[in-house]
Symmetry: C2
Subunit: 307 residues, 2 copies
């Protein structure tokens, strides 16, 4: 019995093609891949392009590692909203004798994970989470605009190459008054769409909601959509029928201002908003639109990306 | 009672200075920091310099995320050697009712970590680990040279800014015959020292051993030193009396070849060797040597780094 090849235009087929071309390198875990030099080079050039486009805004650059303080995590409602996506980091805190037992279990193929203890850190669920606890207090009158990039983790193993468990987000976050936050979100929705169009993508803005866990949050998803708090820019990464969000523009209202006591000069809780660019997804969309060889991409796209 | 300021020249003092200057941003967890735009810019320029210096070797570029397959981890002896440094990623796999209980515990300040289940991934302990399972089989006759960069995790909370729990390694790894591996290690020991001297550091090569856990591995540490398998390039990051390893040059013999069945064309187990540059530590050494303002660094250093 021969195994059927994946159907053309599906996520499985696109994954097979990307692995075959060597652009993705399998790790043995669905949604966790190594990236080839070619793939990484596109990520780097797209990032540099974002840096050039955003230079006019003079955003403060901050770079956080892929870990978030567990205490910070507990102050958010991520555990309530998305417990199934979390990554909690555990380690071994025992004695030499207990370590020997760990080794024995490992060699016998037994599970040793219950012998571990939680550390003070979690994997970062979104690039902007580590920012908020550093902003506790009163913002300057003009608010703040911050340029972030981080690896983020979401436990959702998938055969869709665009649904990685760990990937990089480049985010521009605004902290300020409700009007400052909304203007940032709306300005970047247009700007984000235009800068993605300039590299030959045709991203469509769609109203979206976060993937809340369980039935208890249905109302929340409906409210988020009704208030149009979240827009995604969607484009083809595998299938034209099922486009993928490659950027996300969000208004958080005073959600993080309240959790971390961030205030504007008038004493009100700060609002926040962000645009997040999914760097691996944008790269996958570029490969889907222009082919797997960047040297053969349209001259206009190569020009914009300085490839 | 006033708190004593940290003593000049100590790691605590240097950490206070780096935080005060805004180069490091506290996360609330020792050894986990955000980096300012200035800090990150030095990392990026040093990386670009490494890329220029190494271009002559035509190494294959591969980029892995900070996660390693748990199955791969179990095939190494990291659990036996360094269980105390590991990072195991756990998540929530339960039902809606169990999620509600998780939320209740979180709000009551109770520990919910025991309600989690291990995922298929660990945090990567060293940049080269994800490479080896992709190399299973027979190497080309000339062996392989691979250019890696990754975030790596080591659970060792510390007030020394150079001892981060999560940091980036840029590695050049050689897979091949014993002679190819040794020549790579020795060549890069000289080359690494020269390229660090060119940016005004004076790194000294010292024979070293890995920080094996417990008493059971004392002989292993002694053997590693006796066979001079590991050299570190040490430089000042806080205290001239206690220099810090900023790069590490290692011969692994057939350690990984055996674990992942990597062979040379003659059917023998492959040897491997690597040089790893600690990007945050090198940046800290540059700040210690030249001050906190890269714009005021010596012209020769700025020239080499194209700052």
């Amino acid at each position: 019995m021969t195994r059927q090849p994946p159907v053309s235009g599906t996520t499985e087929c696109q994954l097979a093609n990307l692995l075959e071309a060597g652009l993705l390198i399998p790790s043995g875990v669905p949604g966790v891949y190594g990236l080839s030099g070619t793939f990484e080079s596109v990520v780097e050039h797209f990032e540099a392009y974002l840096t050039r486009v955003s230079a006019q805004f003079g955003a403060e650059v901050m770079r956080f590692p892929p870990l978030l303080s567990r205490r910070t995590y507990r102050l958010t409602d991520h555990l309530d909203m998305f417990p199934n996506l979390m990554g909690s980091v555990h380690t071994f805190l025992g004695t030499g004798a207990e370590a020997a037992e760990l080794t024995r279990k490992n060699q016998a193929g037994e599970d040793w994970s219950a012998d571990l203890a939680p550390t003070d850190v979690m994997l970062t669920p979104a690039a902007c989470y580590p920012l908020y606890p550093t902003a506790t207090g009163v913002l300057p009158g003009e608010g703040r605009t911050v340029d972030l990039r981080a690896f983020v983790f979401r436990h959702e193993p998938s055969s869709d190459p665009a649904r990685m468990q760990i990937f990089r987000q480049r985010e521009f976050v605004r902290l300020g008054t409700p009007l400052q936050a909304l203007a940032h979100r709306d300005g970047w929705l247009d700007r984000g769409r235009a800068l993605l169009c300039a590299v030959g993508l045709d991203p469509q803005p769609v109203v979206a909601n976060d993937p809340f866990f369980g039935d208890g949050h249905r109302l929340m998803a409906a409210t988020q959509r009704e208030q149009t708090l979240k827009y995604e820019l969607v484009a083809t990464t595998s299938s034209a029928e099922k486009p993928t969000a490659i950027a996300s523009c969000n208004c958080h209202l005073d959600h993080f201002g309240r959790a971390f006591d961030i205030r504007t000069t008038d004493g009100e809780l700060a609002h926040s908003a962000c645009i997040g660019f999914g760097l691996e997804r944008i790269t996958l969309a570029l490969f889907a639109a222009h082919g797997f060889r960047p040297s053969a991409w349209p001259a206009s796209v190569r020009g914009v990306l300085e490839l």
